[in-house]
């Protein structure tokens, strides 16, 4: 009995329109030769040119990407370890603590987390002389909240996975290490990839926490964009936004196409 009411579909269409209209407008106006948002003065790619020469933004972008990659890798490793321990064992000392520490970052307001981490770094610096704030502390901070997200994603996949596969492997003589590397890991790989991407995005996008824990000379892309937009609309930011949208669309499209091909290959 699948009656699909048009009202529900209209709600969906409205939702998508709501989500995508601002993005579409950003893209359109990145090509506006006039500075003003309201006046369309003709098609012009000049903002892209200016963007390419804006060393401040370019340096910040490069820094953000490096920080995000480091964060994602570290967070995926730690998050996966946590997820494995939780999914495969119902009790061990510290389990309740781990569960709590993995749940809290998911809902915590960023200002509180940023403040807390900064205070920790300052306290450490005063007593130990380390760390000095910069890209390193940003990575530490980002990893800290990303672990929770990775753990959620990986745990869901582990829960879905048929446990008898691991038992069968053990039954056939595989040591626990072998079971993990040859059975579990390949089967949860999609979740690991998703977790990596999620951490990467969260890190790349973070403004508040980076502002708290950063140091001189370490300006991330969001920090630069933020100081820019506080002054008003800037078409270079539109150009930047469009480039990001294109990059994301290509990545997702490419991944989707790759997965589709693998699926078709397997079915043959």
């Amino acid at each position: 009995m699948k009656r699909r009411s048009p009202a529900v579909f209209m709600a969906l269409a409205f939702g998508y329109a709501f989500l995508y209209t601002p993005i579409v407008l950003l893209v359109i106006y990145s090509f506006n030769s006039s500075r003003l948002v309201t006046v369309w003065a003709g098609f012009s790619p000049r903002w892209y040119g200016e963007l390419m020469h804006n060393t401040q933004i370019l340096d910040a972008a490069w820094l953000s990407v490096r920080i995000a990659a480091a964060t994602a890798t570290l967070a995926t490793i730690l998050g996966t370890l946590a997820a494995l321990a939780l999914a495969r064992s119902t009790r061990f000392p510290g389990r309740a603590t781990l569960v709590a520490l993995l749940a809290a970052p998911l809902v915590m307001p960023e200002v509180i987390l940023g403040l807390a981490l900064l205070l920790l770094f300052v306290a450490l610096e005063t007593t130990l002389g380390w760390p000095s704030r910069g890209a390193g502390t940003i990575v530490i901070a980002h990893v800290t909240f990303s672990i929770a997200f990775v753990a959620v994603v990986v745990r869901a996949k582990l829960a879905d996975m048929d446990r008898s596969l691991e038992e069968a492997a053990a039954d056939l003589g595989a040591t626990p290490m072998t079971v993990f590397w040859r059975i579990t890991a390949p089967l949860i790989a999609p979740a690991l990839a998703a977790g990596w991407l999620l951490s990467f995005t969260l890190s790349l996008d973070d403004l508040v926490i980076a502002s708290f824990v950063s140091g001189p000379g370490a300006s991330t892309l969001p920090m630069v964009v933020y100081s820019s937009v506080r002054l008003g609309v800037s078409p270079q930011i539109n150009a930047l936004a469009t480039l990001m949208v294109v990059a994301v669309a290509c990545t997702v499209g490419g991944a989707g196409w790759l997965l589709g091909r693998r699926g078709r290959n397997a079915a043959r």
Binding site: S164, E167, A168, A169, A170, D171, L172, T178, L187
Partner: protein, 368 residues
């Protein structure tokens, strides 16, 4: 009764006083079993009877709270699964979805460190055994249920384990395939000589395939024996009613006559005859079961056989057999099974007065 005493049997597996508790439930309750080498042994029971938990303890996925498991005399109770000379065929088959059929079968051999040429040869041998040679390069999701089952079997047998454990191997197959596979598995076991231990809730399966079976209920073993022994000589009422159907009579011994013992049963006016049982004194309580197929419905009693008068209540026509329910004077219904040997048999009439008869030696005396 098969002599299953420890010293008399060449046992490959000994389960010694094993108990396992999950939270508040006693899954396995002080079970001791001796599994003869080369046998096809079944653990038969309903869900929750503890049979699967017991099997998993043999494989090493659960550890007993009390008791020991010994394989070939060696205590393996605490040994992890990957170090036991035991392999298991899982109910869900548990084929590795990201590997081909050949890689699945080769998996255990790789863990043993077997060199590639020997591995390939053995994989080919195993696939030939289960008739799946042409499927070597396929992935599990491209196989049918029956084919997946055979891959699981080949994979479990590849390492030539001392014991093969089968967890409800035929549960996922449809009826026709199940019957074929029952015979195939039994034949395979005889050929290879490997000891098989199978867990099932399907008594037909257990009886068809096994050399011995153990009936389990609520974590305990109720009876052990060959299928014939368990079926024709059930020890308790529960076993009699779980394995097959039974008409159970309860009563008291009247007296011992020449060659047989007379018994007065509840709800039956005439005294019934059992084979001579001197161990029961006069007046002692006694119970026995008679299988429906041992009885027959007739128009008159016969000399030398038990006969009870009753009324034909209902007939369930199953094609090859008919289940006939006969109502006795006190309202109790007895169940008779007759094979429809004639194509042109007349239809039974409800309410017709009939006689139920059976031979005294076809009664199975139940222990108190």
């Amino acid at each position: 009764m098969t002599d299953m005493r420890s010293d008399a049997v060449d046992a490959i597996l000994r389960i010694d006083g094993v108990t396992k508790k999950f939270r508040d439930t006693l899954a396995v309750d002080d079970v001791s079993l001796v599994i003869p080498r080369g046998a096809f042994y079944s653990l038969l029971g309903a869900s929750g009877s503890g049979k699967t938990t017991l099997l998993r303890m043999l494989a090493g996925f659960e550890t007993p709270d009390v008791g020991r498991v010994l394989i070939d005399g060696k205590d393996v109770t605490q040994v992890p699964p990957h170090q036991r000379p035991v392999n298991m065929m899982f109910q869900s088959y548990a084929l590795f979805p990201h590997m081909t059929v050949a890689d699945n079968v080769a998996f255990g051999l790789r863990q043993d460190g077997m060199a590639k040429p020997e591995r390939d040869a053995r994989v080919a041998e195993m696939l030939a055994l289960v008739r799946l040679q042409s499927h070597a390069k396929r992935k599990p999701h491209q196989l049918s249920g029956g084919e997946r089952q055979r891959v699981a079997l080949a994979r479990a047998l590849a390492r030539e384990p001392k014991l093969l454990l089968l967890d409800e191997p035929l549960a996922a197959l449809d009826r026709k395939l199940r019957e074929e596979t029952q015979l195939e598995l039994a034949a395979l076991q005889r050929r290879l000589g490997i000891t098989f231990i199978m867990v099932t809730h399907d008594q037909d399966e257990a009886m068809t395939m096994s050399d011995y079976l153990a009936v389990m209920d609520h974590g305990r073993v109720l009876q052990i024996g060959t299928p014939g022994e368990v079926y024709e000589s059930p020890r308790t009422r529960h076993v009699a009613e779980f394995v097959g159907a039974a008409n159970v009579f309860e009563g008291r011994v009247l007296r011992h006559r020449e060659g047989h013992t007379e018994v007065r049963c509840e709800g039956v006016e005439v005294a019934l005859m059992l084979p001579l049982l001197p161990q029961f004194s006069e007046g002692a309580a006694i119970a026995f079961a008679v299988r429906p197929e041992k009885m027959c419905v007739d128009t008159a009693p016969r000399e030398g056989e038990n006969a009870i008068a009753g009324e034909l209540d209902d007939v369930a026509y199953k094609g090859d057999v008919s289940i006939i329910h006969v109502r006795l004077g006190d309202g109790r219904r007895l169940r008779v099974q007759e094979t429809n040997v004639r194509r042109d048999a007349a239809a039974a009439q409800r309410g017709r007065r009939v006689w139920l008869r059976w031979r005294p030696e076809d009664s199975a005396v139940l222990l108190p």
